[in-house]
């Protein structure tokens, strides 16, 4: 089939397809981060911008994409898919869309690889930029934060669209013919946005009994502009929701010269294609076999639910297609088992760059696992939080939470996080303040003697019951709330309610109707004017 293709062209084509796949994933994921994306045009090419487009590379996303590809390329029968799903704060999740990069057998042998295919792939990426802002998930992703987050999962192999519900729509972004097949990029998106629990998720209620922000002002209304917590190394924060966007210099070393071959001379040099393959693939020794890995795009959600379980929920992949891989995170409830933690930093890159601070609890990472499949875009924050909770005990066990020393975590709202001491002992929800209502007069009198309550008049019929209304102060008004309540406890009945509703009055009402209608019709202009003022 590709006997007509020179080996150089074949190499070029493989390289184009590989980087096209990586850039596709970057565009899709960045479009679902919940922020507006902006990159600069540059008239002088730096040699690192593939397809002549300024698309930043989020290292974690590249890492995950490469992990999913596992050294293979999208090809005939091997599609690369990016699945975007929504997860609510209660744990419900729903697939929103699936972007598929596929290849079919229709070949275009006459096309020039290093020129036409390259430019058409560039055009396809531009189309992808436009289309990612048009599907319904874009609007949802812009509003993510407190109530839900958007997650992504990359997988390789057969396209799975069953999670999109009935009536899903499909949009084709574009096609590019190549000598080895036709590349198609498309998106299938859900139209039925009724939330339903999927994948038999066990409902995991908050472990602490209350949701942390239940009674406080919601701290995360505008998470998109919040900087993550102080875990970040200074200077790194770009105000985005991911840890440091940087032009991946890895790509640079393999960069394709942006000088495309003109029709006269091919300027692409051999040297540029020397991929440091061993280095890149070193972490992929564990065969993933098409397993998907979810990423949480918006990991500052962690600070919303510091209870261990919440963290586990949000941190870890929500969608696993196959059985638990020993190295992978097991989602609590999903597999029915105790989640295992790769206490190691999420991925090699972050560790290398030294962004992870020392673990607050002094826990050392578990013995090195080659691939950490729990991946976060905001690695730094998540990592430290993750490792604080000892998974070995089991996230559902109450005492696990006592191992949480949130004060040692530099959370922005640590004050609201339940402390180990406060857990059950002083929790007002669990142990309400002693109620002053005794059941017998004797008790009441005893109670009143010892009461420090100054106001209150004794009732006529009963021994005085110290009525201490909650939340009221008795030193501001001459009459305190309790007195007020007692005095107005038995109001007289309303006059309208005391009218005997009988057939007679009903008849009177009916008789008076025509008169009333006549009055209303006379005043119809007034009514219309009134209605207009309301609009």
């Amino acid at each position: 089939m590709d006997s007509d293709l020179s080996s150089q062209d074949r190499k070029d084509l493989d390289k184009f397809i590989k980087f096209f796949a990586l850039k596709t994933v970057q565009i899709i994921v960045q479009a679902r981060l919940g922020e507006k994306i902006s990159t600069c045009s540059s008239s002088s090419p730096t040699g690192s911008d593939w397809f002549n487009l300024a698309i930043k590379d989020i290292p974690e996303v590249t890492h995950e994409a490469k992990k999913a590809l596992a050294g293979q390329l999208p090809g005939i029968g091997r599609s690369m898919c990016v699945e975007i799903s929504l997860k609510t704060s209660e744990g419900d999740s729903m697939e929103l869309e699936t972007w598929c990069l596929e290849m079919n057998e229709k070949c275009d042998k006459d096309i020039k690889v290093s020129y036409t295919v390259y430019n058409r792939l560039s055009l396809l990426l531009k189309s992808l930029l436009a289309i990612t802002r048009v599907t319904p998930a874009y609007k949802l992703s812009r509003k993510q934060g407190h109530d839900y987050v958007i997650l992504y999962r990359i997988y390789f192999g057969d396209v799975q669209l069953t999670g999109l519900g009935e009536g899903f729509q499909s949009v084709r972004v574009g096609v590019v013919g190549t000598p080895i097949g036709t590349i198609t990029l498309s998106c299938a998106y859900r139209t039925n946005l009724a939330l339903m629990s999927s994948r038999q998720f066990e409902r995991t209620g908050p472990i602490m009994g209350i949701i942390i922000d239940h009674f406080v002002e919601r701290p995360f209304t505008n998470m998109a502009h919040m900087h993550p917590c102080s875990y970040r190394t200074p200077g790194e924060d770009e105000g985005g929701t991911y840890a440091g966007i940087e032009d991946s210099q890895e790509v640079c070393t393999t960069s394709f010269s942006t000088s495309p071959p003109s029709q006269c001379v091919c300027t692409v040099s051999q040297a540029h294609f020397k991929t440091p393959k061993p280095a890149l693939m070193a972490t992929l020794k564990v065969p993933l076999m098409g397993l998907g890995v979810s990423q949480q795009l918006y990991s500052s959600r962690l600070s919303y639910q510091t209870p261990a379980l919440g963290t586990v929920d949000l941190c870890h992949p929500t969608a696993f297609t196959a059985g638990a891989h020993p190295h992978q995170m097991v989602v609590p409830g999903k597999e029915g088992g105790v989640p295992q933690v790769p206490a190691q930093p999420n991925h090699g890159t972050a560790a290398e760059h030294g962004r992870i601070p020392s673990f607050p609890n002094g826990q050392s990472p578990l013995p090195a696992q080659p691939t950490s499949c729990s991946s976060e875009v905001k690695t730094v924050f998540c990592d430290a939080l993750e490792t604080t909770f000892t998974r070995k005990v089991g996230a559902f066990v109450n005492k696990a939470t006592t191992q949480v020393t949130t004060t040692s975590l530099d959370l922005p709202f640590a004050a609201f996080a339940p402390r180990a001491n406060d857990l059950e002992v002083n929790d007002p929800m669990v142990h309400p303040p002693p109620s002053p209502a005794p059941s017998s007069p004797l008790q009441g009198s005893l109670h009143s003697n010892s009461s420090s309550h100054s106001g209150g008049q004794p009732q006529d019929d009963f021994v005085m019951v110290d009525f201490k209304p909650a939340f009221s102060k008795d030193d501001l008004l001459p009459m305190d709330l309790g007195t007020f309540y007692r005095e107005f406890q038995n109001p007289p009945q309303l006059a309208s309610l005391s009218i005997d509703v009988s057939a007679q009055s009903m008849a009177e009402d009916l008789d008076s109707l025509p008169e009333k209608l006549a009055i209303y019709e006379k005043n119809i202009d007034e009514f219309d004017a009134f209605v207009d003022t309301l609009q």
Binding site: K36, S41, S42, P45, R133, T135, P261, Q263, C264
Partner: protein, 218 residues
């Protein structure tokens, strides 16, 4: 070679005209712009990088993606503003059409001026509606946002048919194919024109032309 012609139609409220036109024009120009060419010796060239920018619309539930070039944005905004003024001043039912035409220049011998040969024309027909109250405006925001999304999909569909595109020019010919006046990006040569349709359905410009011709013919 035949010129490819595509027509898009939208119905918008008065204050949505600017953003709707910008959304569609920028989407087309995003696909029809490349990075700046840097010609080197030996007849080779390198291409600069095109950045993109998300812009949220104020009056429509829509986010458009445009090329990161303030110069280009200014040019397009100016053209759209002129179109909107013309729509407003026409006193007609608020129907008009703005056209984005991509062309190639063909050098002619003296005394003839260069020929402009269009190879792709995008016509956006606009129908301006008046809305009575805030509720209708809110519905319109969402509906027009969805409609623009559909139009973007249409645009992408046409562009990805990979039909005729001018050949990459040599250095001497580059100004016949590309607009090299901008410093950060290089769109294909284009021009933006518009027509306002009066209530009779005939375009004002053609009526004027007819009148002038008739006058001169006398």
């Amino acid at each position: 070679m035949n010129c490819r012609s595509e027509v898009l139609e939208v119905s918008v409220e008065g204050r949505q005209v600017d953003e709707a036109m910008l959304a569609l024009l920028h989407t087309i120009l995003l696909h029809r712009s490349t990075g700046k060419f840097l010609y080197k010796k030996e007849g080779t060239y390198s291409i600069g990088t095109v950045g993109t920018q998300d812009v949220d619309c104020d009056f429509i539930d829509f986010t458009l993606v445009r090329v990161s070039s303030d110069e280009l944005d200014r040019v397009i905004r100016k053209a759209v503003a002129e179109f909107k003024d013309a729509l407003g001043n026409s006193g007609s039912d608020g129907m008009g059409q703005i056209s984005l035409e991509f062309y190639q220049k063909k050098k002619s011998r003296w005394p003839f001026s260069d020929e402009c040969i269009p190879w792709e024309v995008w016509s956006i027909k606009v129908n301006v509606v008046n809305l009575a109250n805030e509720q209708e405006r809110q519905i319109c925001r969402e509906k027009v946002g969805e409609k623009l999304g559909e139009k973007v999909i249409n645009i992408v569909e046409v562009i990805n048919r990979h039909e005729y595109l001018p050949k990459m020019p040599t250095q001497s010919e580059v100004d016949n194919v590309f607009d090299t006046s901008l410093k950060d990006v290089q769109p294909y040569l284009y021009k933006i024109t518009y027509q306002i349709t009066d209530s009779l359905g005939t375009s004002v410009s053609t009526t004027m032309r007819r009148l002038i011709k008739d006058t001169l013919a006398l």
